[in-house]
Symmetry: C2
Subunit: 221 residues, 2 copies
Amino acid sequence: MTLPAPGPSAPGLRERKKRRTRDALVRVALELFTTQGYEGTTVDEIAEAVEVSQRTFFRYFSSKEEVAFAVQRMVEEEFVRALAARPPEEGPFDAMRHSVLAAWDRVGETIDEIVPVELYLRTFFMIESTPALLAAHLRRSSEMEETIARLVARREGLDVDADPRPRIAVAAFSGVMRVTGQMWGKGPDRTLEGIRALTEWYLDHLGPALSLHWREPRAHG
Amino acid sequence: MTLPAPGPSAPGLRERKKRRTRDALVRVALELFTTQGYEGTTVDEIAEAVEVSQRTFFRYFSSKEEVAFAVQRMVEEEFVRALAARPPEEGPFDAMRHSVLAAWDRVGETIDEIVPVELYLRTFFMIESTPALLAAHLRRSSEMEETIARLVARREGLDVDADPRPRIAVAAFSGVMRVTGQMWGKGPDRTLEGIRALTEWYLDHLGPALSLHWREPRAHG
DNA sequence: TTGTCAATTGTCAGTGGCTGTCACTAGCCT
DNA sequence: AGGCTAGTGACAGCCACTGACAATTGACAA
């Protein structure tokens, strides 16, 4: 037998169908979640709206939670890509800061083929305000931190397990990002510009404290 | 029957019975969780071991998760109490640092009537290594942060909603605490002294960066 | 075109967390 | 002693999630 050879220009009917089903599940799920609430929406409802069986839903998403983060995941991946592409001479804090802002700036192109930005923002808000999803969000964030810490350590030529500074800086940075998300959800300006501005505003308060002569051998132990 | 000894607060048979049931549920649950794993333990099992119905379990704890955090909650409350008692002239970072260490130092007296410290430490480790519980732990932590931020703001005479610094400092501090917990779980020294030492070691790396002229821009008082 | 293979899906049955309801028991109070 | 009520057990049911197996359908070769 021969390999399918999935060329970039030859998606194949099967693949396209799968993708369409998946996208439909995400769109419908987020639409239902944001209008009826997360707990107020059953998996059966989502599956029925897309006209697939509940079992099929769980073949695409390992849990109800996962579909809620499908779009968020894309944005996070965009952030990681941006961070990996920052010039190496840039300090770790500046690099993270630029990457977050870049991810916000590009969020349109990143997700527009799946859902409109407006739906994503409503989803983001729903996540922040649904305890079960907030918990999942925080766990996902803490996994992200490990990824980012390793990236940062590599940029700085440090051993992430020997030097605590990469993890600590990332933890502090992520903490500020988390607060930003929460304040955005509580505040009145629930727009993309709103969260971008808030991001800058909050980071401005931590940045100077963390970015001071990072590379210099520390003056004291 | 003999009269019940009129203690400082007459507990009453009903109350004592309830407390005994609750304590037994916690002890048995943590023992089962730490030996068979969290997901490997059903609520029915816990209930059966304590000889109550599953329904009764859910009358004491709103979820299976909640029982896993019963002891952790006591330690957290001890931390908050300690923080509230710190001298007001102390900087916020030092106050938080002292309170965490004090909570660790007093953990024995705090929880010993319910479970041995050794079981608590195993539970702590289990929480860190069980995704579902880690998520819940992080959400609980983020709720704690709000409490702490308000405490810190009050100490400093700031408005927590107008000045972002309390929330940011607490977020950064909590981020470091979280990393500490994770590193403790991954490390070899899974003792109380181990996590205490790690706490100091990690905090030493953030403290200087955050506590510098905090009060300067706004002369308080 | 057609037959075969393998991927995808639907159906069904079952587990476990969690909730509402209702009758019953046991501590509490007068 | 007897009424009140908190606490409980038993039962039924919802929903997220999983394993097993059969039916369907796209992919590919003959």
